[in-house]
Symmetry: C2
Amino acid sequence: MASKHSTQHKILDAAQNLFAETGFNDTSLRQITSLAEVNLASVNYHFGSKKELIQAVLQRYLLVLMPRLDQEFTRLLATRQPNSLAQVLSVFVKPLLELNKVHQNGTRIFLQLLGRGYTDVQGHLRWFFNQNYGRVLDKLVQLVQQACPDLPASELFWRLHFSLGTVVFTMASNEALAEIAKADFNEKVDIEGVILRLLPYLSAAIAAPIPQVAHISQTAPMLASEGR
Amino acid sequence: MASKHSTQHKILDAAQNLFAETGFNDTSLRQITSLAEVNLASVNYHFGSKKELIQAVLQRYLLVLMPRLDQEFTRLLATRQPNSLAQVLSVFVKPLLELNKVHQNGTRIFLQLLGRGYTDVQGHLRWFFNQNYGRVLDKLVQLVQQACPDLPASELFWRLHFSLGTVVFTMASNEALAEIAKADFNEKVDIEGVILRLLPYLSAAIAAPIPQVAHISQTAPMLASEGR
DNA sequence: CATCAATTTAAACACCTGTTTGAAATGTAC
DNA sequence: GTACATTTCAAACAGGTGTTTAAATTGATG
């Protein structure tokens, strides 16, 4: 099975491209099977449901990426003195770019899928991530904590999620941004170019100085008090 | 018309909440009219189409926010010496928080809608924005340019879009993040708290030092060469 | 009250969605 | 080549989508 041009493989390839471009909910199984040139029912036959197809598309990359990241994080945690924030963030580059070996434009597609997953099916992917790769992410948090010892844990939480937003949104809008950049600055940027631009931006952002205590929780009297 | 409890008003209120929570494409007119307790056909009668309803929902906030921002930008541009980046970004706070006067939780809802607009209907809102408020945004670019004179124009372009991603994604995930923050750090955060946390993060990010020339365009041999 | 326009309503429209079905086709082992 | 399991296929399913229609209701004006 998985003989490169098998039905399952054709479905996965067609699905990932359409999912990345249009989002999960806005891509129909008929669009996928039409592009893959397979029968409509084969999706349910091979994957069970659309939901499981989405998971399979993501897993193809996660199963390659996450062990690589885990390995890098573990390596950095073993060093004697704490690593700089730039060093920590740099370890993402190689594992991400190696996704291009999984599939052509694999890096771009995976990051776009990640963005879709976080915004389309709200909260679902976030839960899945913490559930399956929480231990890996904890190592990242630990590394950043070491690199920025003055940063309170809660502030670090927010800044890491801000950063996730930066990456994920940028990748989701990648095509549009690349077009504008080319039109306005005659600048040809690929996914690696964007990643390399992100690094100094995120390094400075996460390590930003904490503003003077502004009694935030007092000046902002619980406006959003409606529970949920 | 617009007598606060008119049909149009009820539709707009129901629509904005559902749109913000579930996204534009994943919210049906039947969900909206059901929540608003009006007839299904009244949406098409009063607004023409779903697309125009979406625009009306956004316009209700944009028509308040953008002139305010324009005014602030113009004021800052008139000062003798260039303003600091932190000062420039700070001018967003008041106009954004004043959206709470337009509607309860207006700030949060508008920012969520903005996030939805940029990710749901890909590229559509970006085009609309540049078309209608390009002149206002140009002033912002000019202000940031003045605050960071060493930043090349193309780098500034990317960093401003990175920042847009940070804001927009954070707001789209606002509920989930606020829940986690409360569970993990017993920290009650409202929309104002998030905005105040974003300011130092974005200030440091946009003004991040430019890394040494790394021959980016040469080390990254046009991988994404497929046009689109 | 009568007239006319503005609004609301229930019903239907044509189309798209993910999924299931049962028969046909294909592949595999004896 | 016959039996068996795997895979493909066209067709239908039940349910949801935005939009339209024409009649009923409401509101305002004379």
